[in-house]
């Protein structure tokens, strides 16, 4: 009985190929857009999270606002934080703004940042040419500098800056390296900064405070505990004054980014699901037309012994067929679309089984929901009226 219904439904669908295709189109578009949207948004999320993680998934950022009495962290505070368990390294920043001079060129208001070797080790791609600031520089408070890519252009006009001397705050520094131009997803541009050893900065920049501190964790799973311990140190340093610092964990940021993106992909899929509903209405419409056209057939089948149940089943299977076949086409087109767009944008994607299952489930559900009313109507046809309609 069931097999017969499938066979009959298949015959009716293939008989009216163009009409069936147009009816399915709504479902095809709906499923294709769900697949493509979910896949692309997830692909983008994964790509961005991977990039961000590479830049510091194990990082904690501490930014010092300070109190009137104490404007930043002292070197001792930094050492105390470094001593906390699970802290693999710290990268303090001391920043100031001053003019730099190279030969006759003066650039006002350049951001000078004192940093340590940890900062460079965390991202080996930071240096474009020359070398990074190392432990020895810090120990000896060497007067060396690594400069951003814009400064290279503005001061040296394509000449190799390594080994050249510049004046910062009236003191001569030797340029030992240049920075890679900032990439899309990195936090804060380093194109216009000069980086010097932070010990040197403490000595000669006239700034005695550490304004921010990046803490590198050994085990990200213990991030929350470590953050608590560091907060203890900071609270003591700033006399338990509220709002004297901010601290946040990169892992948390990645997590909340991912949850925002997954909400967004659901939202987009929801919007795409509306087109599925429109497709469903198309199927319902076509089924109602079919039933009107086949009134005689329905009457005859009833006269030959079909129960309301078997009639209902036959038409329901027909509409489920339409929506599921539409769904399969949609899957194909959606995957294709996703791959093409992904290649275009330049992200990597993978189409998950669960996405496919979701889309197929949706389209089958559409077939059932929107096929039920017409099927029920067919099953309730009075055979006498149906046979009279010849």
């Amino acid at each position: 009985m069931f097999l017969e219904s499938i066979r009959m439904s298949w015959m009716n669908i293939t008989k009216n190929k163009l009409r069936s295709f147009l009816t399915m189109l709504g479902i095809v578009i709906g499923v294709a857009s769900i697949i493509a949207l979910i896949t692309l948004v997830r692909g983008a999320t994964d790509n961005i999270s991977a990039e961000v993680t590479k830049l510091g998934g194990n990082k904690i950022f501490i930014n010092i606002i300070g109190t009137p009495l104490k404007q930043g962290l002292s070197r001792d505070d930094a050492e105390a934080i470094k001593a906390v368990g699970n802290v693999g390294g710290i990268s303090p920043t001391i920043s100031g703004k001053t003019a730099i001079v190279y030969k006759d060129n003066v650039i006002e208001n350049v951001s000078i940042q004192g940093k340590n070797e940890v900062y460079f080790k965390a991202d080996p791609e930071l240096i474009r040419s020359g070398r990074a600031i190392n432990m020895l520089d810090l120990e000896h408070e060497s007067r060396v500098a690594v400069i951003g890519s814009n400064l290279v252009n503005d001061l040296f006009f394509g000449k190799n800056p390594i080994g050249e001397k510049i004046l910062i705050n009236g003191i001569t520094y030797t340029i030992v390296g240049t920075l890679e131009a900032s990439r899309r997803f990195s936090m804060g541009s380093t194109n216009d900064v000069v980086i010097i050893p932070y010990t040197t900065a403490l000595q000669s920049l006239g700034v005695k405070n550490i304004s921010s501190l990046d803490v590198y964790l050994e085990d990200t799973n213990l991030a929350d505990e470590t953050v608590e311990k560091i907060k203890g140190i900071l609270n003591r340093a700033f006399n338990y004054k509220e709002d004297s610092y901010t601290i946040f964990n990169m892992g948390d940021i990645i997590e909340s980014f991912q949850s925002i993106m997954s909400m967004m992909s659901l939202l987009l899929a929801g919007i795409a699901a509306i087109s599925l509903i429109v497709g469903g209405i198309g199927i319902m419409n076509m089924m109602l037309v079919t039933i009107t056209e086949r009134t005689m057939e329905i009457g005859l089948r009833k006269a030959l012994g079909a129960t309301p149940y078997t009639i209902c089943l036959q038409f329901l299977i027909e509409s489920i067929f339409l929506s599921v076949i539409g769904g399969l086409f949609g899957l194909l087109f959606g995957a294709l679309l996703a791959y093409v767009l992904a290649a275009f944008i330049g992200i990597e994607i993978s189409i998950l089984f669960s996405t496919n299952a979701l889309a197929m489930g949706f389209s089958a559900a559409v077939g059932i929901i929107f096929g039920y009313m017409p099927a029920k109507k067919a099953s309730c046809l009075n055979p006498i009226d149906a046979l009279r309609s010849l």
């Binding site: 005859l300 089948r301 009833k302 006269a303 129960t307 309301p308 006498i384 010849l390």
Partner: protein, 231 residues
């Protein structure tokens, strides 16, 4: 012996906007096994209405109807479907074949609803088609067949479930005289083999070929025995 079909005081009324229209008035009808009955009456006399009630497609307003020992008026829709499938073989004036199915598939249709396995179904349908003389047309579509051939397919479809009654409403109405005569000859032949037939017609020349004629006029039935009936 119990009759295949027995009707007592069957009345059927349609309730229209203007009031009650009595189409069948106290119809009493008995059909024995092996009978060949024709119901003869002019247009509008209530023939189709009566046939719909006999065929369990419609329910009477009042009266009693027993088919193969079972009271039809107590049945729900599912039981009625099963009775139509097993007890009744319908033959329509305009054949009512499904245009996309071959002759064989059309004949198989009632067997699908009695859940017969595929191979047996096919064998049975082929056997019946041979019997109505269409052994060479099994895979033809209805529009590749003549009117007479189509009606033979319809007769085969009606007979394939071994029903208690073949019920034909104006089976020759859409055919020319010669072809119509051939169809009635087929009925006579089938009846000689013991099949019970009820044939509805407004054509006297066709009606007289049956064993018995029942006249219907304005919903009132009167009987006229034709040939001696031996069971």
């Amino acid at each position: 012996m119990k009759p295949v079909l027995s009707m007592r005081n069957i009345c059927k009324s349609y309730f229209t906007g203007t009031g009650e229209l009595k189409v069948l008035k106290n119809v009493n009808l008995i059909v024995e096994k092996g009978d060949f009955l024709s119901i003869l009456g002019p247009s509008g006399s209530g023939k189709t209405t009566l046939m719909n009630i006999i065929g369990c497609l419609d329910t009477p307003t009042s009266g009693e109807y027993i088919l193969s020992g079972r009271n039809i008026l107590d049945m729900d829709e599912f039981e009625l479907a099963s009775v139509r499938n097993r007890e009744i073989g319908f033959i329509f004036q305009n054949f009512c074949l499904l245009p996309r199915l071959t002759a064989l598939q059309n004949v198989e249709l009632p067997l699908i609803y009695s859940s017969m396995p595929f191979s047996e179904r096919k064998r049975k349908a082929m056997e019946i088609l041979e019997r109505v003389g269409l052994g060479d047309k099994m895979n033809s579509l209805p529009n590749q067949l003549s009117g007479g051939q189509q009606q033979r397919v319809a007769i085969a479809r009606a007979m394939v479930t071994n029903p208690s009654i073949l019920l034909a409403d104006e089976p020759t109405g859409a055919l020319d005289q010669r072809t119509g005569n051939q169809i009635v000859s087929l009925f006579e032949e089938l009846n000689r083999d013991g099949i019970t037939i009820v044939m509805i017609t407004h054509d006297r020349n066709i009606a007289v070929r049956a064993r018995r004629i029942v006249h219907i006029l304005d919903g009132i039935v009167s009987e006229q025995e034709l040939k001696p009936f031996v069971s």
